[in-house]
Subunit: 354 residues, 2 copies
């Protein structure tokens, strides 16, 4: 155990892609949509708590999710739950954690992980994190974890490695690319130079702060001017800082600009479970490629459907292909799978209507 290592779990998602199963009251990270018996965030915590002590684990989440976070992760000290007053994307979220942790331990090494991803092999995952921490503690720089693509996925970001030497586990990064078109995704997949961006970051806290100073100086000023981090005035201070921050991802704000970016090839089996499509890919299917979460669902002459309904609901689906059928509480959504990207707008549409 290295006493300088810290883990930050990003849990700021608002759950709109899996609406109505996931929603603003209980976003995906707090749910068990894969029916593993534990929510995503609980699984994430149990996984990383094997190598981080509880008081070195921080959660960054929306202010409104403090209670559910405490309830699902009672082991985490309450002061380690960083509450965001507004949704401000990953650059702000990571800056908050970085400046706070630097204040506690200037020699800290930070691992930043999403709260709602699926990891197949925990052991390989933890080994990769440790290799990454070891690397940055010696070489410095910003390390991200890349996943060898298994298909020409258009829903993920891609990382291009500088070296074509595939035997190297860690290499410098040439480019970052946001979600590509199908054609470009195919080129990436065929080229052997691209990895999926898993949204996992490892660095020394002093190095990321140098990068903020260089590439996002406004943000650096906001977090360091009359800082009240780690004092009783922290919530008010954060309220003010977040009010002035822009909505920028760490990829766009730092990773794409920095000269010291590395990628470690992860080999733990990964999915961001970011869409119903990804969910479908992970789940057990019937002989007609349907995924259903409940034994009370009867699918007749139907193919490629995704059904997620309350456990006691009796459902018959007849003669239908390529639908997502999701129900929770008093909401029912029936969506053509080709229109999946529109789901994230539905919750708002309803709030407006009511």
């Amino acid at each position: 155990m290295n006493y300088n290592t810290y883990c930050v779990i990003m849990a700021g998602g608002i759950g709109n892609r899996f609406w109505p199963v996931s929603n603003h009251r209980c976003p995906k990270q707090f749910l068990d949509i894969l029916h593993s018996g534990k929510s995503f965030i609980r699984q994430t915590y149990e996984r990383i708590s094997q190598i981080f002590p509880d008081n070195h684990i921080f959660i960054v989440t929306g202010k409104e999710y403090e209670e559910i976070t405490q309830k699902q992760l009672p082991e985490i000290p309450v002061e380690n739950i960083l509450k965001e007053p507004y949704v401000r994307n990953t650059a702000t979220c990571i800056a908050y954690a970085a400046y706070k942790i630097k204040d506690i331990n200037p020699d800290a090494i930070m691992v930043i992980i999403p709260s709602d991803h699926f990891i197949c092999n925990d052991y390989a995952y933890l080994q990769n994190l440790q290799e990454g921490m070891h690397f940055v503690s010696i070489h410095g720089g910003l390390l991200t974890i890349g996943i060898t693509p298994t298909r020409a996925e258009t829903e993920y970001g891609y990382i291009q490695v500088k070296s074509k030497d595939n035997s190297q586990k860690i290499s410098a990064v040439k480019t970052f690319t946001e979600k590509p078109s199908a054609e470009i995704a195919q080129m990436f997949y065929d080229s052997d130079e691209f990895l999926w961006n898993a949204g996992i970051f490892i660095w020394c806290v002093k190095d990321i702060i140098e990068e903020f100073k260089t590439h996002m100086y406004d943000l650096h000023v906001l977090f360091t001017t009359a800082s009240k981090l780690n004092t009783p005035a922290e919530p008010l201070f954060i309220q003010s800082v977040y009010g002035q921050c822009h909505n920028i991802s760490i990829d766009v704000g730092i990773m794409e600009k920095s000269q010291h970016v590395y990628v470690l090839k992860g080999n733990f089996g990964w999915s961001d479970v970011g869409t119903w499509h990804a969910f479908h890919a992970l789940c057990e299917k019937d002989e007609h490629n349907n995924v259903s979460n409940s034994g009370k669902v009867i699918l007749n002459e139907s193919n490629n459907c995704i059904v997620n309904t309350p456990p006691r609901k009796n459902v018959v689906i007849q003669g239908i292909d390529n639908l997502i059928i999701a129900e929770k509480d008093n909401y029912l959504m029936i969506c053509n799978r080709k229109d999946e990207e529109k789901i994230k707008r539905f919750e708002k549409l309803f709030r407006k209507k009511q």
Copy 2:
């Protein structure tokens, strides 16, 4: 008011075509699926009570629907609710009413009507019934009401008139045809000789009993041997009779065989509302030909759908064509409109599964 006229409302439907909105606990005739403010049977009663006194109105329904019938039609004397122990189709149902009414009044004229049809023009309907009663009181015979087809419908039975003289309101019948194929329906529609069979019958009770004696002698024997009709032992007697009856419609058992069948051309605007398709035809549609029963349903880029969900349920439907979406209690059905005929099997499928 003719003191010999009686009306029999057939309310034996088991509600499987509109499952789960209609079901064995509360079949279609007791529901208000058209949102008129009143159930079908209540509307039927209020319509015919303009020309029949309450004690001359009989309801034939399943034993299990006695309570709901009394609740929806409190004006009807309880002894006028004829309870069928088993589902035995219209020949048995009509025989039960006919032998019972003959016992009360051998000179009775009977009008037999379904409980769950849509009638557009009540005044014209009642006029047609009265014309029909007048006709049979003079000419005898079995009179049915036919509707001039407005399309080549394959879901209705057809009646072919003997005379091609379209000016006659009542004419002898040449043939009865059950639901035809699309091709034959088109020929019928084009020929001008065919009317839709609306399932409405008018005759003197003594004439229909003569016909039972001739064409369904077994049934005649069952109802006349040691009859306990209109006595306290009627339920036991009926239990025994129904136990021995076959499942035959009045069309097959009598109308197709009798030599004394007439048809009166109805002009009141009619639908049997027998399918979701017929329901769709009757209801107001949005600009994409969707029918929805609730303001809480949002239909995006969807066409030709039928939605019938609980009034407070929030529903989003995205990118979908030609579906029937129906929810009630703990049951949800999503069915391709081309598979509508399979709906009637779903309730049983579930009872088996549970």
